[in-house]
């Protein structure tokens, strides 16, 4: 601490935000250097929820390591599992049935909506509005029910396995998803009425947390954080996997570069996810839900990488295989880590009260950052 104090000038104060602060959404410690109300520096300190997941995966087989990634970004657990399954299939050169592909994409998009809805409620709560949280959870609850019915769990599903999905869709799945879409379309205008159009909210978001496109690229930001700065980085469009190249959806880009732009990207992305689900839900192909794979999976010697677009940005899995049934080295590229690193750039010069609003628009999930 002594060295850090040495760089400050007269009147600077060092304060800790977190690790037990509710607005940090987990155990994140931010060491702030402030002068009066103005932020001079933000230093995120990590490591409070480090579980050494990458090292742990080295002792797990290619079927077993997938469930661990649900515990990283638990709000888009499904999409993390998807990335792991894809990289194993890439190594095994397995062609998965088209039914499994469609099921995976449907589940991904449902997860994305659920994640964005939780983010919307939590972010409004960060800014002091408590009611939106309940409204967001009302819609999210119906997605969780769909997940519970088909996957057997509400948050950490472990539904995607190498070769396809663990079991077939529940017979009620299509009906439940259609009911959800009806509910969603009936209720989504409330989000705009209650939060987006609110003058207090807009004044707290517009012009706050400026992140230019150059900075977003240099910090490695991905997902809605970068798209709010106008950087085209949707993996579903740029490097399509599964059936995304046959689908009709837009990549949402906003050029505001501020907190409000990042907010709008997520709100509009939910509508795109609904569009994807509507295209697929009536045309789920018949057939197997899982390809035939061997009991013990062994990847050939080499290096494999696969990236997917989670609710927060680009998630990558990198596997080095020595030919055995466990990975020699595994590396996860998590979106939250890079997005958090841009917080310092955003927050410098702004007021202390706006920091929580900026963190809210980054949509941080701390176990994803720490792993």
């Amino acid at each position: 601490m002594v060295e850090e104090i040495g760089t400050t000038v007269e009147g600077d104060v060092l304060i800790n935000v977190g690790p037990q602060h509710p607005a940090t959404h987990g155990v994140l410690n931010l060491l702030l250097t402030i002068n009066g109300e103005t932020i001079k520096k933000v230093e995120p300190h990590l490591g409070f929820i480090h579980r050494s997941i990458e090292k742990m995966c080295e002792s797990l087989t290619y079927r077993q390591f997938i469930y661990v990634t649900s515990r990283m970004d638990y709000l888009s657990a499904h999409i993390n599992n998807h990335a792991c399954a894809l990289v194993v299939e890439k190594g095994l050169q397995v062609e998965i049935p088209s039914r499994a592909k469609v099921i995976r994409v449907l589940m991904d998009e449902l997860t994305r909506i659920a994640s964005h809805e939780l983010w919307w409620g939590a972010m409004a709560m960060d800014l002091g509005a408590f009611t939106p949280f309940f409204h967001a959870f009302r819609e999210r609850e119906s997605i969780n029910d769909i997940m519970e019915e088909t996957c057997g769990a509400r948050l950490t599903m472990n539904y995607i396995v190498p070769g396809g999905v663990m079991y077939d869709l529940h017979p009620d799945f299509q009906k439940r998803v259609k009911d959800f879409i009806t509910l969603y379309k009936l209720k989504i205008h409330e989000y705009d009425e209650m939060v987006t159009g609110n003058i207090i909210f807009q004044n707290r978001m517009k012009g706050v947390g400026y992140l230019s496109a150059e900075d977003a690229i240099s910090y490695g930001c991905t997902g809605p954080t970068a798209r709010g700065s106008g950087v085209s980085c949707d993996i579903r469009k740029l490097y399509p996997y599964e059936v995304y190249d046959q689908l009709d959806f837009d990549e949402i880009l906003e050029t505001g570069c501020d907190s409000f732009a990042r907010y709008m990207v997520r709100i509009r992305e939910m509508n795109q996810s609904i569009r994807i689900i509507e295209q697929l839900i009536d045309t789920i192909p018949e057939g197997d839900f899982q390809a035939k794979t061997k009991a013990v999976l062994k990847l050939p010697k080499g290096e494999f990488y696969q990236r997917v677009e989670t609710a927060r940005g680009e998630f990558g899995v990198y596997i080095v295989s020595e030919g055995g049934n466990t990975p020699y080295r595994i590396k996860f590229r998590s979106p939250g880590f890079s997005n958090l690193s841009a917080l310092d750039q955003m927050a410098r010069g702004s007021k202390l009260g706006d920091l929580v609003a900026m963190m809210g628009t980054l949509d941080l999930v701390i176990p994803d950052i720490d792993r």
Binding site: E193, M194, I199
Partner: protein, 158 residues
Amino acid sequence: MFIIKYIKEVFSGLKSLAVGLRRTLYYFTHHKEIITEQYPDNRETLKLSDRFKGEVVMLHDENNEHACTGCTACELACPNATIKIITQFDITPEGKKKKALDKFVYHLELCTMCNLCIVACPTDAIKMAQTFEHSVYDRSELTKILNKPGSHIRAGVE
């Protein structure tokens, strides 16, 4: 005209607040549309999905027979060493020694409900139960032996 612009902004701001408050007031007066799970009170009627992963149980039929051969496929599939299978040697009527299940030890406190053991089981001897209230007073109560005392393997299961 700065003043007119300012007044317009004030009024549009007030309007946006009124729109939000109208929605709040709507739900304030429409109690029926608010969904709340009355969880501890609705235990009798609470029906979870058949696939819900609560804990691993072993299926026993009315003759107190199960289908577990003690092949340890679930033990190998488990990522967390949740399952430990202890086998013994039974003497068959023909006088031969045969490997059979002695104890199916299940550590609920280590289980992450990933369902890999259920998928791995070749004889469908275990399945996921829909129970979810697992809190106990002592940690040792979470270590369970799944095969019932005195149970045997069902005839014909190999």
